[in-house]
């Protein structure tokens, strides 16, 4: 039951993008087409899960036992940067077309604050144990991918609609995201 609550809360109620404001750069950057959005979502699911597990172990067995918690920011970001490199190398071999499609945004996962943010929330703010942290990371990443794909779908439709001159492009995208966030607020009664 506890795990179900964590999952629902992370995907819908406290959605990383729409309620915690994490990972907005890829949210606006790669959301022009549903297909690239889904690819980006998949990459984030993988990176976020592995990053949270690794940072959890790092926090518990190195930072806390040596009493150097203030090194948290530096060590976490380095671990994440190394992981992203790894994913990049693997993806280049396994799926060159997806690698091409994601282009510049794959190295940018390093500066996707959602990855670092979720790791910090899991190990510090919420103080989850290893299994809960992992579940939380997977659910958060799914929440990220879900909102990204929905938003990409909305923007594809937006291309066809008649938008006032001054609102074209970025402004209307923000207002659309606002309405999507409003829709996600409807979930807040669940958990």
């Amino acid at each position: 039951m506890e795990y179900i609550l964590i999952i629902i809360s992370a995907i819908f109620v406290n959605n990383v993008v729409l309620s915690r404001f994490l990972g907005l750069c890829p949210f606006f950057g790669v959301s022009k087409q549903v297909e690239t959005a889904a690819g980006m979502g998949g990459a984030v699911v993988f990176v976020m899960t592995v990053a949270t597990i690794v940072t959890y172990l790092l926090q518990k067995y190195i930072l806390i036992s040596f009493n150097i918690e203030y090194m948290q920011t530096i060590t976490f970001i380095l671990v994440i940067a190394a992981l992203v490199q790894l994913v990049e190398i693997i993806l280049k071999k396994v799926s060159p077309s997806l690698y091409q499609a994601l282009g510049i945004f794959l190295p940018l996962i390093t500066t996707n604050c959602a990855v670092l943010g979720v790791a910090i929330i899991a190990v510090q703010t919420e103080g989850y144990d290893l299994i809960k942290s992992t579940v939380f990371a997977i659910a958060s990443a799914i929440g990220f991918a879900l909102s990204l794909v929905i938003f990409a779908g909305l923007r594809e439709q937006l291309e066809l609609s008649d938008v006032p001159e001054g609102m074209k492009g970025v402004p209307i995208a923000f207002v659309t995201a606002g309405l999507l966030a409003l829709a996600f607020m409807g979930f807040s009664g669940i958990a």
């Binding site: 750069c25 920011t73 970001i77 940067a81 390093t110 500066t111 670092l116 966030a181």
Partner: protein, 196 residues
């Protein structure tokens, strides 16, 4: 490019938030009120200026291939300094900004300036660039925070300006997106008028 231009471009023509769309997470996440936006902006400015100074000093020593990780370590060190200082001296603001203080390290604005400007220019220009970009960022955050505070809780910088509570939605997540969307539209409009 003259010195004045380097300093002022961060405010208008290359404003991080309104024009370049960098550093969006703290922009939306911390601007529930004008004072929070200002606090976040100034913390970011400090990190930006200091990392620009260090990057421009050591740019010749860093091998090209490892420059990004090196920049990240430099930035993360200053973020840790800001985090510990704020925890000690302004604990209230530290609690409100919370998660977004360690997240300054992944603010694309800072890494972007280190890579695009400080690693190619001398120290004086880098400082000016850091201050210009940082203060432009602070200005944008304060504006967004002020609008959200006025609409959402009827006050600005904690000073009540009209009766009643305002529409709570502007303090919550959806309001952040919508207000920023309209602010960007407004800035686009002003810039278009200037160029005609």
């Amino acid at each position: 490019m003259n010195k004045l231009k380097i300093f002022t471009k961060g405010f208008f023509s290359e404003n991080a938030v309104f024009v370049m769309l960098l550093g969006l997470c703290p922009t939306l996440g911390t601007t529930t009120s004008a004072i929070n936006g200002l606090g976040m902006g100034l913390a970011t400015t400090f990190v930006l200026v200091m990392s620009n100074i260090v990057v421009s000093l050591v740019k010749k020593q860093i091998p090209d291939k490892v420059r990004i990780p090196a920049f990240i370590v430099i930035i993360a060190s200053f973020v840790t300094i800001v985090e510990l200082t704020m925890q000690a001296y302004v604990p209230d603001l530290y609690d409100v900004l919370g998660l977004f203080i360690p997240l300054i390290v992944v603010n694309c604005l800072i890494l972007g300036r280190a890579e695009a400007f400080a690693s190619k220019n001398n120290i004086i220009d880098s400082v000016l660039d850091g201050f210009g970009m940082g203060l432009g960022f602070s200005m944008a955050l304060t504006m967004l925070g002020a609008v959200r505070e006025i609409l959402g809780s009827g006050s600005v910088f904690n000073i009540k300006i009209y009766e009643g509570d305002g529409a709570l939605v502007f303090v919550l997540a959806p309001g952040a997106f919508i207000v920023l969307g309209y602010l960007i539209a407004l800035v686009n409009r002003l810039q278009k008028r200037k160029s005609i």
